[in-house]
């Protein structure tokens, strides 16, 4: 216990930055050239465009124990790849929604537009974000198994066809219209995405929780804090998709176990 406390005391936030080559990474370079100082916590990874960062990358890194993640891109309208950062913005919205679902503070993820000429801004943003993450404290992913399952479920949900297709097509559906040339109302579409996010997260969590041990609907409802009728509806969908199987009922209560796809486990 004492050691844990000592660790807690010496804890320093671990922050990962994903910086786009053309603006934020260059802004960070200029920050260095201009000798603007910032805390040593951030470890940056260079990508060609912020649009490269899929929700899976971010959630997987949170799952591995990052305390904070910062994405840096070009200002809207200035993207080196014309429209990449519009998609980044949409994806970050999904990432934050999934983090909320997983009971993780969405403030642990930050999206910033830093241009190649904004060296000082880079140091300010990183200093602020480091402070923000410090206040939030260490991620619970490592200490709390429940939190870990939820983040894993959020990661799985982000990889589902439904969410990826919805978020991928969001800009097109709003700006150019669907196949019938009807433009969708952006707020309506956000609502659709939000409800899909909740459903996909809950389904992924059911699969996550039932991976190691068969679970009953009641048990899942309690673990997930979701009404049992809702859990049952998810189970029906998951069974239709052949993702979960019914195990030997214990007495009168059926239990369900996740079907592992592929030979990895």
């Amino acid at each position: 216990m004492k050691m844990a406390e000592a660790q807690e005391k010496n804890w320093e936030p671990k922050i990962i930055g994903f910086l786009c080559n053309w603006c934020s990474y260059a802004g960070a370079d200029l920050c260095g050239v201009s000798r603007y100082q910032y805390p040593t916590n951030i470890r940056s990874v260079r990508v060609m465009c912020s649009t490269r960062i899929s929700p899976h990358l971010v959630l997987d890194i949170f799952k591995s124990g990052a305390d904070g993640i910062m994405l840096g891109g070009c200002h809207i309208g200035d993207c080196h790849y014309i429209s990449g950062n519009y998609y980044t913005e949409k994806r970050v919205r999904l990432m934050k929604r999934l983090m909320e679902e997983a009971g993780m503070e969405p403030e642990r993820l930050r999206l910033e537009w830093v241009s190649a000429s904004e060296g000082e801004k880079f140091s300010k943003v990183v200093s602020e974000f480091t402070e923000q993450v410090r206040k939030l404290g260490p991620t619970k992913v490592k200490s709390d198994a429940n939190q870990r399952s939820k983040v894993a479920a959020a990661d799985d949900a982000s990889e589902t066809f439904r969410l990826k297709a919805l978020v991928g097509k969001e800009i097109n559906l709003v700006q150019k219209g669907n196949v019938y040339e009807n433009k969708l109302d952006p707020k309506e579409l956000e609502k659709i995405i939000d409800s899909a996010t909740e459903e996909e997260f809950e389904r992924s969590l059911i699969l996550e929780l039932s991976r190691t041990k068969p679970r009953s609907v009641k048990e899942l409802g309690q673990l997930m804090e979701v009404p049992t009728d809702k859990v049952l509806r998810h189970i029906v969908v998951l069974r239709q998709k052949n993702l979960i199987s019914m195990e030997h009922p214990e007495g009168f209560t059926p239990t369900y176990k996740t079907i592992e796809i592929g030979g990895e486990q």
Binding site: C31, T40, R43, S44, V45, S64, S83, K164, G168, K169
Partner: protein, 624 residues
Amino acid sequence: MTEHAKHDKGEKPRIGVFVCHCGSNIGGFVDVPSAAEYAKTLPDVAYATDNLYTCAEDGLNAIREGIRKHNLNRVIVASCTPRTHAPLFQATCESAGLNKYLFTFVNIREHCSWVHMKEKDGATKKAKDLIRMGVARARLLQPQEEAKVEVAPVGLVIGGGVSGMTAALSLADMGFPVHLVERDGDLGGFVKILNNLYVTDKSAADTIRPLIEKVTKHKNITVYLNSTMKSVEGFIGNYDIVIGRKGGEDVKAKVGTIVVATGALELVPEGLYGYNQYPNVVTLTEFEILCKKKTLPKLKNVAFIQCVGSRGQKMSYCSRICCNVSIKNAINIVDNYENMLGLMEKQGTLIDKVPVEQKATDEILERRRRRRGRDAGAAEEGGAEEVKLGPSEKIEVTVFNRDVMAYGVEHELTYNKAREKRVKFVRYTTDHLPKAFMEGNQLMLTYFHETLKLERTMPVDMVVLATPLINQPDAGDLSKMLKVPLGQEGFFLEAHVKLRPVDFATDGIYVAGTCRGPADITECAFQGAAAASRAAIPMAKGYVQAEALSSVVDENKCTGCGTCMQVCPYGALRKNDKGFAEVIIAACKGCGCCGATCPEGAITMTNYTDAQLLAEAKAALEEG
């Protein structure tokens, strides 16, 4: 390339790490020798050392030697930023027979020593972490081949105005066959309808006639009149185009590069200063054509109003050329009106007035019809009383302006000349816009005199409105067809306003003239020549080399849903015969949008795979 074969997929990584002191730039704030020692403890690291300056000749030699002596198949340099030094170290690796995609850059200067100058321990720990991240990435790298794509040595120029003709002629003179597509029935663009041109004072038609003749007669140029682009498919070097010809068969061709020079229109100032409400209120272009045709009413007072619909009124920008055009027309009318009046009386072309909806002559009606999407025919108005002119009275010209933008060497002199000729320049501000109205049959103008701080009203015989140039109303269609962007103001958007002003971000497509923003004839000629010289580079070279930074589709996972095609800003994905997504390597820029989007996870990015990015980031979370 044969030497690279030894670093194939099966070989175990042998990583060399070169940590740079950069004099004291890194060494002064990071414990470089301990970072190099630490690197030796990392998995698959076969060799690690520190150098005073890795980018100096002995530093580069150390890399070459390290590769040979220790049989390295991955190289990491931990020093400054890849944005400046990556090409140097990559070339060094290649010179020692190592594929340049097996090189990893770790930035411990801009991102570490220079930003943590007061925390040597923290900075050293961070440098070690960054090196560990680099090693994690390097272990997963694969050699890449850069694809060479042939470029068809044929050009396409869209638009037969000054910019387009200049571009076509330049390309043709370099020996490339050129297809020149013009929507109108003849070449010349906007200029062909104008009267005289500024600075030279020569007639517009005479000025561009030699250019039109050269273009028409050039053996390398095929001119398609009354034609528009029907479709453009492909990518740099390999565009399949279809030209639609009015009343003729479509023409199909293959071209290597495309110059967009579709020109501009003037804004129609609906609802401003009595335009389309009172007679004798015309736009600058309409006025110029009335002068050219010598069909003017009797004039004593002419008022030009500048910045109509521009600089915040309808469009945000300054159209740049209108001050000079107004000055040109003011001088013209002051100098020549008396002669014109005599001539008009003799020929019987003197008119009572220019009625509403009859101002525009045929030349610009056609252009305007495209803009408004409706026929511009209109009813004639009843007669009005003409203003009597005393025989000895001179014409009075006033230019109401917000600022006069007579920029450059010649224009300031022309501006002075206009003032010498007693053209009055009266300033107005946006708080007090001039106002045109009718008093009986007399057109009147009220304005606020900024010097006298007084409101004044004067009778005017004609109000000339200087409106900005705007992009063609159907530019959006072309923008979609070519997958090149329009800017906020509706003009085509170049790749970089200062460094690449005639390139589009998409390789192989270039832009010139007023379709990328207001410009005068001289500037259009510059841009046309510039765009041609840019377009000629890949055609003269004969091929383009695509950096190995593209997306790769796994056909086993792809379901052909097409989401990737919707999000790609370069049109670099298409459906192949099997219905799967296929990457056009030459068109792909490697941004990764499709990879992050693909609902099936079927797309990955060369050299930036999920596995590489995750390994690099997760290495930072390990305890060092």
